[in-house]
Symmetry: C2
Subunit: 445 residues, 2 copies
């Protein structure tokens, strides 16, 4: 439904048609449509939706919209939303809401659920526990396939995923898994014990969500069980939530690599002060580090006074060094993040980068010499100085660029910090020293 | 199983135990274990595996291992592998294999399958068609739930996913979908038409895989149907394949943002010439663009000759400009990639970045003035020149950094190209002009 049709239906009060058309749509799209309306019209339409759709739509609203809607609905409506929401969605919502709204929500939760919510809120941010849900199908070994299917039929309506069922013993210890596919294609009389898969891959509640994401990617699972310290099943994580985790972790890497402190805030929603805060620290650190390069230049003041033209090539040398260092560090950082490059490959990586640097450095050097000697008409000694420095800079920057992320990994620091900006600053200083040393030697200053 | 136990079991020829332990493991792990052995031992163990596991393990081998194994197995073994492989895995393998191996594989495929493979190989790289599979459950409207479940039981064994079933008419046109969950919980006597969902979200064979990935993320689907130009169902895409697509697209963005031409080759597998090739072009372009900055410096040669100390601040100004521009462009590029920032937000974004730049620029300026005037003992006029240039540079770089990715998007170029390296080169030139203009005016040169 496009915006014009929506407005038309609202204006003409064709609510029956409107409801019918909305009911046929995906909840994500309905949520987006309501998000663009003023809150009172949105509430009006929200109330028209069937109860099931309304809850699904609510789960996809933005934090602001959820807050506004909770503020306006009746207690009875809120009770229904709270009862029907998936548990992990509810925990997410509670984490984002202001205290008075949380209080209002918790009023409508059963006591047992309130305790669970409190338990969930205690899991560390970005841990498996913080993204899992408690809705899953729990089977027993002794059940037959027929009984299991009936059990699913009875209870499976509200489960976020029924496609993997978990077999637990009386102490809630995880004994195996059975896919719904296996249940459907198996003989009705077989027991769960006969058909279950015992080699279960699982994570612990305190494992990092990045670990969880890499397990999903490695095995292509739809869901993964989460156990507590005593190996009791406490929840499951579904693949759709992992897609968000992957995006979030990648965004953090992008932010770190561009010299920002990472934040989960969406760009358009974040305040300018919050955005500025995340940017200033690294810029300050790098600005002050650049004092070093200034110091080097002042040390060679005499060289520059004698041959001012040398100054003209400083930006080109520094930029090329920064760029070629960034190339190497980016590939290694990404390789580490995807598990393609490991610390044991360090020797191989450095040797590889060294040889690539020779090739790339030579190619750039040839073009550069040709350009400044023949086109710009710079003297042969100066052309040679610039060209040789360029070559050395490329080699240094590529080697530094691949080593630093691996050192970070070794020290358990996020390798993404060792990206362009930091490497540029380091390579700047090194290449200036090379530049002036060669210049003062060759030009006899 | 760890390496030591594996070696022990092989050495002691305890093959029964070895087979038993491998059969209990996940195919991904078995493939990794065999990958580390020499090819003959690997083949020996590969042949021990049950047929079903062997095929699954084969699909997870690296391209080299697959090639080597195909070269060594008997025709009968290869026939079984070819018959049992998932269709999309087979197409992937064929795409990677040398011609003689492909010929050997196709010998064992049925004619019908050969035609299909050829059709699949014609889909553009990175299109929905190139990543879809043909294995899915196809139902008819008139079937009852009971009949549908029996149909799945009969044919569903080899399907990559049976969790979403597709309802088609006699011309293979897609009419609706039914989840296996719905089938299991519904009354056996109901017809598919009663319970199917008609509002199906689908993609076309020629849609880009990035579009497909964003649909998966938006709706949290497990599978998505793919239709041809005549809206006939031709295949489905499953969420596990989309995780690879997301990683691949992100890696491309990382590569572009670090001034490399994107490649899908894994870092450790790629040759140094291939890696060098992807890096040289952009480095050359950026190096030659830096001529501009050199030209600007030479134009103001007189200023620099008179006040050599000005040179000392060039690296700091350029780096800070580059870094603050990168911050803005990275956030906008990522925002566009995730669909959080759209072209219609351009005005809002520029205004936001402008205000952030003022805050960040002021903070840096204060620290910088304090540092160079009080600590380095630079004269007040020069300190002011440097500080004012720093402030202007931050503002320019942030505004340029947010505008360029949006212009790229508007022109249908990948916004990732407008990242750090390019923006640094542009901002370098602009900040030098500001620097020297202010210097010559303030210092009366």
């Amino acid at each position: 439904m496009d915006e014009r049709r929506l407005k038309y239906l609202i204006q003409e009060k064709k609510y029956v048609t409107l409801k019918k058309e909305l009911e046929e749509m995906n909840e994500v799209d309905v949520a987006e449509i309501l998000e663009d309306l003023d809150i009172h019209t949105a509430l009006l339409i929200f109330r028209m939706l069937s109860k099931d759709l309304a809850v699904d739509v609510f789960a996809h609203f933005s934090v602001e919209q959820q807050r506004d809607i909770i503020g306006l609905v009746t207690d009875k409506e809120l009770k229904h939303i709270v009862e029907e929401l998936f548990f992990d969605d509810m925990v997410d919502i509670i984490e984002e809401m202001p205290a008075n709204v949380v209080k209002k929500i918790l009023l409508h939760a059963k006591e047992e659920e309130r305790n669970l919510i409190n338990e969930f809120l205690r899991y560390p941010i970005d841990s498996a526990g913080s993204i899992m849900t408690i809705e899953y199908v729990d089977l027993k070994k002794a059940m037959t396939v027929k009984e299991a299917l009936e059990h699913i039929k009875k209870t499976g309506l509200n489960k976020e995923t029924v496609y993997t069922c978990y077999v637990t013993d009386k102490n809630r210890k995880l004994e195996g898994i059975v896919s719904l596919r296996k249940l459907v294609i198996s003989d009705e009389e077989k027991t769960i014990e006969d058909i279950m898969d015992r080699d279960v891959i699982y994570v612990h509640t305190h494992d990092d969500q990045e670990t969880v994401a890499s397990i999903f990617k490695r095995y292509g699972f739809l869901a993964l069980p989460v156990v507590d310290k005593e190996d009791r099943l406490t929840g499951i994580i579904t693949v759709d939530d992992i897609m968000d985790v992957i995006d979030q972790e990648t965004t953090e890497d992008f932010q770190r690599m561009a010299a920002m402190s990472p934040t989960e805030e969406k760009y358009l929603d974040a305040s300018i002060f919050s955005l500025a805060k995340h940017r200033i620290i690294w810029l300050l650190v790098l600005m002050i580090s650049a004092t070093l390069t200034g110091g080097i230049i002042m040390k060679y003041e005499k060289v520059l006074e004698t041959v001012v033209v040398l100054t003209a090539f400083i930006p080109m040398l520094m930029d090329t060094g920064g760029n070629s260092g960034s190339q190497s560090s980016t590939l290694i950082i990404r390789g580490i993040a995807l598990g393609e490059v490991e610390l044991k490959d360090a020797g191989k990586v450095i040797w590889k980068e060294f040889r690539i640097a020779i090739i790339v450095g030579l190619a750039l050097a040839v073009v550069n010499f040709f350009r400044i000697y023949f086109f710009d008409g710079v003297g042969v000694l100066i052309s040679f100085t610039v060209t040789f420095t360029l070559f050395v800079t490329v080699v240094i920057s590529k080697v530094v660029g691949c080593i630093l992320p691996m050192i970070a990994k070794k020290l358990n620091i996020d390798p993404a910090i060792m990206a362009g900006p930091l490497i540029t600053t380091i390579v700047d200083a090194l290449s200036l020293v090379v530049y002036f040393s060669i210049a003062s030697w060759l030009l006899n200053i």
